[in-house]
Structure formats: C-alpha cells, structure tokens
C-alpha cells in the first residue's frame, strides 16, 4: 500500500509514479489458474499442434529407419523394403512431395494456433478491459497471452513427438519385423526428435506473438460496455 499525501494543487505529471511491470514469474502464477481451468479448451487448441508435429516426427523417423535398413544391404530385408515400396537404389526417400506435405501441415498448424488464440482474445475483450481498469499494463496482457499460447504449443509439441514416434515404430515394426531393432538408427532418430521439438516450439511461440499484441491493444473502456 502506497501512501500519497493529498496536495491541494494538481500534481505535476512528472512526479506521479508510473505503474511498474509485473514480473514474468508472477504473470505465470496469475495465468496458471486460467490455463488450468480452461484445460479442455486448451486440449482442442493443442490437438492441431499435436497432429502436425506427430506427422512431421513420423515422416522423419520413418525416413531414418528406412535409410538405416537400406544401408544394411541384407537380401531378405531388401525384398521387404521393395515390397513396402522403397526404392533401395535411391536411398534418400525424403522427396520433394514429402517436404511439401510437411510444410503444408506445419503451416496449417501455425494458422490453427493463431486462429484459436485470436478467438480467445475476442472472447475475452471484457476480461482484458477489466484487467486494465484494475491497473494492468499492456506488458502484462502480452506476457500472459504469450505464456498461455506458448505453453499450449510446447505441450502439444511434446505430445506430437511422442505420438509420431510411436506410430512410426509401429509401422516400421509391422513392415520390417525384427530388422528394425537390429539396425535401429538411434542417433538420427534422436536428431529428428530434437528437430521436431524445435520446430514445434518455434511455431507456437511465433503464433503467440500476434494474438498477444492484439489483446494488449484492447481498451479498458471495452469492459464498461454491456453486451449480453
């Protein structure tokens, strides 16, 4: 509680204190309640990220496994590979079509996050206005939106990586049986997972910027309007 002495004359603006920023840690604590209680809603937002990243992970891991199996150059295995439609003479199967598909799915995921966060800004105009009436600065609104959509994005990314890996392993095992574990490319699979994690996190953080900025631009007077 600050105590300000009442002055008879209008106070000069230079000596009026400025509202200070709420720290990231406190903002996280404040936003956490909302994230927790909007969990179901968050799951829907997250599902787009989960699917896109699962697809990316699946494509990469599958590619890693096939490459390592082709390199093994085993007669029985080569037959299995050809049966699965792999061109064993062109070992790198990451053709242009695949890159295009992955890019498209990532773009759809980016637009999906932006879209659902923008919707939540519109839904919460009143809430944002109210917070500003209570003394919140633009920075607080930006930070809390940023934290919320980044957390959703990162959680979705981790889930997507796990899902993609499981599906890739199951598909590989059903095609190539025991050979998968015998020639499992641990290093490149780990690398692919890291790439998926990085791309997913980056995407969700980038997607969080625009909605957070727009949210902060809402005016406190919006809270006063009654629209039921």
């Amino acid at each position: 509680m600050t105590t300000t002495t009442q002055t008879p004359a209008a106070t000069s603006p230079s000596i009026i204190p400025e509202q200070r920023h709420v720290t990231w840690a406190v903002t996280l604590q404040v936003s956490w309640a909302g994230i927790k209680r909007r969990f179901f809603r968050s799951l829907i937002t997250m599902s787009g990220v989960v699917l896109a990243i699962a697809f990316l992970t699946y494509m990469q891991v599958m590619n890693d496994i096939v490459k390592s199996l082709v390199l093994a150059n085993d007669t029985v295995l080569n037959a299995l590979l050809q049966k699965a439609g792999v061109d064993i003479y062109a070992a790198d199967s990451s053709d242009r079509m695949m890159i295009l598909l992955i890019t498209l799915s990532l773009l759809a995921c980016l637009v999906g996050i932006i879209n659902s966060m923008l919707m939540s800004v519109t839904e919460r105009i009143k809430e944002i206005g109210t917070m500003k009436c209570l003394g919140a600065l633009d920075g607080f609104i930006i930070r809390s939106y940023f934290i919320e959509s980044s957390l959703q994005g990162v959680a979705g990314t981790v889930l997507g990586c796990i899902l993609g890996l499981i599906v890739a392993l199951a598909a590989a095992a059903s095609n190539y049986h025991g050979y998968v574990m015998k020639h499992f490319p641990w290093l490149s699979v780990a690398g692919s997972l890291v790439i998926s994690l990085l791309i997913g996190t980056l995407l969700s953080v980038v997607a969080a910027i625009l909605p957070a900025y727009l949210a902060a631009k809402k005016q406190p007077v919006d809270a006063m309007r009654v629209e039921e």
Binding site: T2, A10, T11, V22, R37, R38, K132, C133, L134, L137
Partner: protein, 248 residues
C-alpha cells in the same frame, strides 16, 4: 489550476466530439462539475445523453476532446499510459453492471489482482484479499469461482476487488442493474457502509431509484450537458419520477 482540499473530482468544460463519417457527434457539450470528498454522487440520464461518456472520463477510461478532468489532484489528460494505469490501480475502484469478474479465477484470486498489479507478491496479495472479502461478508466463499456464487455475491466480490487497494474513488456503473430488488438494496447498503468505513467517494451512473435515495448529490445529464445538480434534500424521490421528471 488549484483544487481545494475537499474537492476530489473537478471537471471543467469537458467536451467530447466523435467523428462519425462526415458527421461530428457532440456527446458532451461542456460539463463543469465538482465532487466533494466522501460524497455519494449519482449521475442520471437517458441512454445517449452522454452519461456513460462522462462517467468514463472521470474514470480515466476516455479522454475529453476539450476541457479537463482532475481526480484527487491528478490532471488525467496530462498523464502517460503508465501513470494512468497507476492512478487506476491505486486511486480508483471500478464496479460494473455485469460484475466483470474473471471467470477462471476464484474470489480470492480476483480480489488479489489489483494488489498484484500494484507490485505485491501473489501471497501478500491473497492475504489482503482475504481480509477485504471478509469485510464484505464473503469470508466463507474465498475459493469459490464466480459461477459458483449468486449474483449478489459476485457483486460483493467485485466491491471487494474495487476496495482492496484502498482507492479514493469508487466508480460504479449501474451496479444494481443485473440484480433483483432485494439484492440491489443490499449492494447499495454495502456501498454506503464501505463509503463510511474507508472514507471513499462513490460515483455511480444509474437508473435505480433506490440508489438515488442513498445519494448525497444527483446530477442529471441531458444532451451532453449537466442539466441539473441537486444536493440531498433538494430533490424528492417518488416512484417513477423525480421532481416530476420521468426517468428514461
């Protein structure tokens, strides 16, 4: 510009012009008003009269086209965004018709928000919030969500939230508009009680006759001007009309 010790709000020559396409809409045509410290003031006027516009200016939510609004010694027009946020946080408490509680936060979390914005840690803020919630009679509802309590209790949470930073002014926009008769009365009573307890000035925009009888001063706004200002005893309240004027 000097402002005497017991005047807390001073509006001088406040005008507001909105540009609506090629047409200029004069929402306020020059309002002069002084509000005394510790007073309970009601602003009255039909919709479209400029009542809400004026109310928002006193609350620092809107800027006048011309003229000045001074609140507690601060000339609102001269403040930057961060100073304005500071004044809103420390000097004003807002109460809304539709309560405007954060739905995902408990009563305690809602009330602790202004304290957190003022720079306290969440733990300190919750302590102060629990204290004031007890004062408004909700000590047993601390961990309830807004959706789990009644309308009257939600407005009590909102009043606690408006009071938690010990502001100089409470701005209440139709605080009883969404409440039934009896609950509305209780809320008006509580506002009056808090006004006495904390020495706060209460400014409301209202249609509610019950609210008027609790007021020290009533201001009628019509066509963007302060049509009439009456102190307690100078106006008579009867059902449907005040001094023969029907309410819009």
């Amino acid at each position: 510009m000097s402002i005497s010790e017991d005047i807390i709000v001073k509006a001088s020559g406040v005008t507001k012009v909105y540009q609506l396409g090629a047409e200029a809409v004069h929402a306020l045509r020059g309002i002069d008003l002084e509000v005394r410290r510790g007073e309970y003031l009601s602003i009255l006027g039909p919709s479209g009269s400029g009542k809400s516009t004026f109310f928002n200016m006193v609350g620092g939510l809107d800027r006048p086209t011309e003229g000045n609004v001074e609140v507690d010694g601060y000339c609102l027009q001269e403040l930057n965004q961060k100073q304005l946020a500071w004044v809103r946080c420390h000097k004003m408490g807002y109460i809304f018709q539709s309560f405007n509680l954060i739905q995902t936060m408990t009563a305690l979390e809602n009330v602790s928000l202004p304290r957190i914005f003022a720079g306290e840690t969440p733990a300190q803020a919750r302590e102060a919030a629990a204290e004031i919630l007890t004062v408004v009679g909700l000590g047993h509802r601390l961990t309830h969500l807004p959706s789990q309590v009644s309308g009257g209790q939600q407005q009590r949470i909102a009043i606690a939230r408006a009071l938690v930073n010990r502001p100089s002014i409470i701005l209440a926009d139709e605080p009883t508009g969404n409440l039934d008769l009896k609950t509305g009365e209780e809320i008006i009573h509580l506002l009056g009680e808090m006004k006495e307890k904390f020495g706060i000035t209460v400014i409301t925009a209202t249609h509610d006759m019950k609210m008027l009888s609790a007021s020290d001063t009533v201001v009628w706004i019509k066509d963007g001007r302060a049509d009439r200002i009456a102190r307690k005893g100078e106006f008579e309240v009867s059902i449907g009309t005040i001094d023969g004027k029907t309410l819009a």
